[in-house]
Amino acid sequence: MTHFSALSLIKNALSGQKNWEPQWPDSEPKAEYDVIIVGAGGHGLGAAYYLAKEHGITNVAVIDKGWLGGGNTGRNTTIIRSNYLYDESAKLYDHALDLWDGLSQELNYNVMYSQRGVLMLAHNVHDVQSFQRHVHANRLNGVDNVWLSAEEAKEFCPPLDISPTARYPVVGAALQRRAGTARHDAVAWGYARGAAARGVDIIQNCPVTAIRRGPDGRVTGVETAKGFIGAKKVAVSAAGHTSVVMDTAGVRMPLESYPLQALVSEPIKPIFPCVVMSNSVHAYISQSDKGELVIGSGTDQYTSYSQRGGLPLIEHTVAAICEIFPIFNRMRMLRKWGGIVDVTPDRSAILGKTPVPGLYVNCGWGTGGFKATPGAAHTLAWTVAKDDPHPANAPFTLERFSTGRLIDEAAAAAVAH
């Protein structure tokens, strides 16, 4: 693996940029692995990376039905924050945020992590009470989050319209300064490169059609488009398709898959300094380093596996954006897309062991999986390697749906879903 540095840049510039090596090989499957990870998104690739680096398990394959990072990793709006209400969530997302901090250096790959701050707008009394409760809960958990008046919010984000006659009046905002954005593709690529350099096989365009179990119930491997591949342990990290994959192992999941849409505008000069979310009107917006406004919408009301979503949601989101930021009302939108998000009844992830020995699952991240990438990857690797959860993901069990010990972020409404 080439170490990226100023020196390597100069060297390759002098030779006409023709001698860069591929960053990872496109592997063919071996007959058997110690661990197979289903799904080569940021979470799956990251788990392979941490398995190799921190647990010394390098006989690992990451298998994906498409190309790596082509699912929700490449389809999200790249927002990173950890201002969740409950102790369990705050701990897990803040664990991720700690890892985001040094990720570019760790991977020797610029993930363009930018702590530009996430501003959550309050439009009414309910929002104010809910966000202030979040601010207090966050501070008790050591997660940074502060309350701003409308004027302070305007100062932090000048394009904001805070006039009292606005369609969605801004009466205040919660600001997490440590939050921000990162380049989503680079996260998948950085982990893929780091994992491949440590001996992990990345197998693309190879759908996993079934998980196989032996007579004792233990996992024996996976059936794929390239034949059977044996494995001592299998970790499923397949986002919207988790129900489909887990069903082949005889495990029924408390998940529903919905399309979540996003869109980008034409690129413009830097104008938007932070991330702004408005949960009441289901819209969030930031500006990418390319200059496009990246706009996120809500999930469609019906379950679906079509990576499209309906137009009414996009119309509603864009209308809301134009009301909150009148300055953008003549912008043209370049393209829109959808990703399939797997939503749990309590809107919290499931990350841990399953009733099947040797089978692990990382799913249910719903509309907020990208921000958790390093944390989910790190704790999934830990759980697989030690057959025991990390303290950060220990509460996020599958059993909580029968014990009733839910982590009810749905009611907490920290997330736009």
Partner: protein, 100 residues
């Protein structure tokens, strides 16, 4: 935008008039106090989340206000049928043959 047929109004109308109401044909346990935690979990939380024809409920919210059932393919979002709540669950093989 989806066009949805309300079996009560007998009209095909835009999605915006309707609200989705989750998977259909999930019956509440007849004797709740005799049900185990695992059975409650299955009733409350476990869903087929099928990739393909999905039996689901919709409500004609901005119309007659009534709930009805539907079978929709979750890959194409195409409706195979909508039917009244007290109609029997239509057989999938017959629906698929009809939609060909």
């Amino acid at each position: 935008m989806l066009l949805i047929h309300c079996p009560y109004c007998n009209q095909t109308l835009p999605e915006l008039e309707f609200t989705y109401a989750g998977e259909a044909h999930i019956a509440r346990p007849a004797d709740p106090s005799s049900v185990s935690d695992e059975e409650w979990r299955d009733f409350l939380f476990i869903r087929t989340n099928v990739k393909g024809p999905h039996y689901e409920r919709w409500r004609h919210f901005h119309g007659c206000g009534r709930y009805f059932n539907a079978v929709r393919d979750t890959v194409s979002d195409r409706f195979l049928i909508t039917y009244k709540t007290d109609d029997p669950r239509p057989e999938l093989s017959k629906l698929l043959e009809k939609s060909k």
